[in-house]
């Protein structure tokens, strides 16, 4: 197994999942500056318990890994 301090790594993994939505096409988007070294755009999104999480709430506390991934959709029967 890994050395103990690996487990102590202060890191927060957030996964952005797309839930389904019949939403209208959002307006052509203005992309923020997301280059290396840029300030990460703050956001407020609900987690799986419905609690709104902001990127900024971790500032000064932890590193954050913001992991985007394609939603895994399943056709319901």
């Amino acid at each position: 197994m890994r050395a103990r301090w690996h487990y102590g790594t202060v890191m927060m993994v957030m996964l952005l999942a797309l839930t389904w939505v019949m939403g209208k096409e959002a307006k052509p988007s203005e992309r923020d500056d997301v280059r290396l070294g840029a300030k990460a755009p703050d956001f407020a999104l609900p987690d799986s318990d419905g609690i709104v999480r902001r990127l900024s709430e971790f500032q000064g506390k932890k590193m954050v890994a913001l992991a985007f991934y394609p939603a895994l959709f399943q056709a319901g029967g």
């Binding site: 890994r2 690996h6 487990y7 102590g8 790594t9 890191m11 927060m12 993994v13 957030m14 996964l15 952005l16 999942a17 797309l18 839930t19 389904w20 939505v21 939403g23 959002a26 988007s29 203005e30 992309r31 923020d32 500056d33 997301v34 280059r35 290396l36 070294g37 840029a38 300030k39 990460a40 755009p41 703050d42 956001f43 999104l45 609900p46 987690d47 799986s48 999480r53 990127l55 900024s56 971790f58 500032q59 000064g60 506390k61 932890k62 590193m63 954050v64 890994a65 913001l66 992991a67 985007f68 991934y69 394609p70 939603a71 895994l72 959709f73 399943q74 056709a75 319901g76 029967g77």
Partner: protein, 167 residues
């Protein structure tokens, strides 16, 4: 049409094992995906990209080759290397480049390092550092050089260079 996304339990287990805090967030109108430039319009979903963001909110690393099965472990390893790089940077580089990499007045002809990873690969950063002659190649092991590049590549952009929206 009934659509759902996979319950987060699977990922939660992995993260509990790795002692990572973990949230699954919903971006139903895709606005955050778009702001981060990870929206795949063709498939109406997110592209698989991970941003590592430091305590001060700066984007320090962008991982575009994500192996989903390994990602929790890979991230732990990435943070470990980043932290090693941070301590090497502090010991060898900060004296002239400053804590944030953007000092220009601590040593003659020093250029800001902020955002250097946007124009140079890790290998190029290592080569350029060795070529500069300030740190001899043998001072660091290979993995230490790599860790240093991981840390340096995402140093914060110099003030005033923050409004370019290209990645």
């Amino acid at each position: 049409m009934a659509v759902s996304f996979r319950p987060p339990e699977f990922n939660r287990n992995l993260c509990a094992k790795e002692s990572l805090n973990f949230f699954v967030l919903s971006d139903t109108d895709r606005s955050v995906l778009k702001r981060y430039g990870v929206y795949d319009a063709e498939n109406d979903c997110a592209r698989r990209i991970t941003f590592l963001i430091d305590k001060n909110g700066f984007i320090r690393r962008i991982v575009r080759q994500v192996n989903p099965a390994m990602h929790g472990r890979d991230l732990v390893e990435l943070v470990r290397r980043w932290q090693l790089g941070e301590s090497i940077y502090r010991d060898l580089c900060a004296r002239c480049h400053g804590a944030d990499g953007n000092a220009t007045d601590l040593y003659p002809n020093t250029k800001p390092l902020g955002g250097i990873g946007n124009r140079m690969s890790d290998d190029e950063i290592v080569k350029a550092t060795i070529a500069s002659g300030f740190v001899h190649e043998t001072v660091l092991r290979k993995d230490e050089w790599q860790a240093l590049a991981v840390f340096v590549s995402g140093l914060p952009l110099p003030a005033g260079e923050k409004h370019d929206a290209r990645p």
